[in-house]
Symmetry: none
Subunit: 402 residues, 2 copies
């Protein structure tokens, strides 16, 4: 649903919505005829909630499409993930929690190896250590000097770093300098069609200096840049839904995504318990809480079925604390599936439960993938509708038409 359409229907109410996202929640049986992670987990509290809820499975991007974390979360927040795409440079900034300003240009960088003629020998400089990366970023930061431009160079991991250029009149409409093959020179910075201005010259100067500064390093003696982009100028979540909104997330990437659409970011700890402490502490200050649990996904990616189960059980054990706050609407779901058997994100529909006093519950009594199929949310609801459903259940939407 178009956000402008929804925005016109929004009306105030004093109700509070909690969106509890267990990253990569959806799973798959590890053995044939077995149960999924969520079906295996003992979840008495989520099951009790499911009885009073409307349940189902949701599709983050499209049938059969495996979502990345960015699209998966944007869709949860009501942004069509195909229409609202974030540039890779911006996403890299989100990933390390870099506070990108409106006009900043961000790019993903690789340290690489070039030969005497400037041709690329290794696009990843032998995947240098993160330690070495930090050392090189520091060296670049201390020596790069471009008048009128503030340059940020931040370590991401191994050979990857983030470049941010801050200054007036910059654009992200540049092609990649990474040719994606070895044996060739890095590509010259160039505008994409229709763009112009000074940014190309600034990037050229940055590359000239970087090559000079790194020339005696080995193997990382040059850099490649990709995904030049600027913070998108999207309608803010807070503005569209008229919600005082807060994100509670231990990982920078998710704080970054929430910041991108205008949520407040609450300081919290590393553990699920600490995240629940934070929502309790800030309960009176907001109408909407995005509470993000990372470890379900991490253990899924590791292929660790049992540990993923245990994180789900941990979250389940904290549900009574959440319900004690007397939230009006509670959504429990994931941003995508991450079955331990696949050790990766997947295309499988994601279980979802929506509790409110007016949700018209269905017959589902157990929060698990197979039970959710026959729930009132349906077997494949596009998740971008979920926020609208949550708003409706919080009595925050006017009737459409007379």
């Amino acid at each position: 649903m178009d956000l402008e359409f929804v925005k016109k229907l929004v009306k105030p109410s004093d109700k509070k919505i909690v969106m509890l996202v267990m990253d990569g929640l959806g799973g798959h049986p590890f053995k044939e005829e077995g149960l999924t992670e969520l079906e295996t987990a003992k979840t008495p509290n989520l099951d009790k909630l499911a009885e009073k809820s409307i349940c189902g499975l949701q599709i983050p991007v499209g049938n059969g499409i495996t979502p990345g974390s960015g699209p998966g979360h944007l869709a949860l927040f009501g942004y069509n993930p195909v229409e609202y795409q974030v540039g890779r440079g911006v996403l890299a900034a989100m990933g390390i929690g870099f506070d990108l300003k409106a006009d900043d240009v961000a790019a993903r960088g690789n340290f690489c190896t070039i030969d005497d003629e400037g041709k690329i020998l290794d696009r990843r400089a032998g995947r240098i250590s993160t330690e070495k990366n930090k050392e090189l970023c520091k060296k670049l930061c201390e020596n790069i000097d471009i008048p009128g431009i503030e340059v940020f160079i931040e370590t991401v991991k191994e050979h990857r770093f983030l470049l941010v250029l801050r200054g007036e009149g910059l654009t992200g409409k540049l092609i990649d300098t990474d040719p994606q093959v070895v044996g060739e020179k890095p590509l010259e910075p160039k505008f994409k069609n229709s763009a112009s201005g000074k940014t190309v010259d600034i990037v050229k100067e940055f590359l000239r200096q970087a090559e000079e500064i790194l020339k005696d390093e080995h193997p990382a003696n040059m850099v490649l840049l990709r995904g030049f982009s600027q913070k998108p100028n999207w309608a803010s979540f807070t503005d569209v839904f008229q919600l005082r909104s807060a994100a509670i997330a231990a990982y920078p990437m998710y704080r970054g995504l929430a910041r991108l659409i205008g949520m407040d970011i609450l300081e919290t700890g590393e553990t699920v318990d600490e995240e629940f402490n934070t929502i309790e502490e800030k309960w009176n200050d907001y109408d909407f809480f995005f509470l993000h649990i990372k470890k379900t996904d991490s253990y899924g990616e590791d292929g660790n079925f049992d540990k993923k189960v245990s994180v789900i059980e941990k979250v389940d054990s904290l549900i009574p604390r959440l319900m004690k706050l007397n939230p009006d609407v509670v959504v429990v779901t994931g941003d995508h599936s991450t079955p331990a058997i696949l050790k990766s994100h997947s295309w499988h529909p994601v279980p979802v439960l929506l509790y409110s006093k007016v949700c018209r519950p269905d017959k589902v009594k157990r929060f698990g993938e197979r039970d959710c199929i026959t729930g009132g949310i349906g077997a494949r609801m596009p998740v971008e509708d979920l926020m609208i459903l949550a708003m409706a259940n919080a009595l925050k939407l006017e009737k459409f038409g007379a």
Copy 2:
């Protein structure tokens, strides 16, 4: 989902996909409170497969829309059937297996009866026999002579034939010459808006000669032409999905549709057994097999409930041979429903089963319409997403977004 969007996500894998299409599979109880054709059929092998599969019902074009064979199949192959429409002349060529070239112009022809003033007395010339049609087509072929243009005139059935014009610089953008009413003269060939060139003159010359050649025939003394069109320039299935693709179909229409989107057409026999022989023989040469069973539809159209049941049972008996090939993904479905009680195609959702080792099975244990409603594919999945789901299950799609 847009094919260009999907294409960008495709990655290679060595997995094989089989799409087994029982034409007109979906049915309806013949008697009140009875079972459908599929529910009546004894299908132990499909039921066993359903237990390990994700099941559901799919919608070929839209809720309540009855699909023709063209749209039904294009949707199965991932082409939105409203967006990807084939001209009627081209469809007629497909229907008789005519190998249309890129620049050919095809039109559907009717033999008709005109009076002395050239006014139409009967748009179908009394539905002449197919035999008579063949005789007239031969006579036209032998006598039509248009310099620089190769003219093909092929019998379809009764009063219907196919006209194909082959030559340089032709266009299909012409209005019909069939006025769709009697008592008027056939319409003069004319371009649709914005088209130009020599095609109108060529069609006029064809009609002038045809009238002359047929003038002593009775009742078929003239022709009417409709649905001028050229082979569409669509993204090829093979290219979009990066699959070495083959069609196994006993009927020309389905070979034609598969050829239209770039599949290889395998020689096969008339029977279901022969079609299964072909897939066994060619198993190593392709990544994707479209296996088409016609008779489920034919018996449905005849209103022969029991014979339709027996074709389904025949196909079921061959499932073990298919599974012995160890396919990675198997889809079993139809292109539309053809309930014997209606003796025609219908709008009813079509049962679908998708098997893979990573499909996250549901609770469905029986491959039948009512059981499929509660399957994980859902009660009404748009079928154009089915190929994407098959690709995902073959691990042939990248993640969307980081």
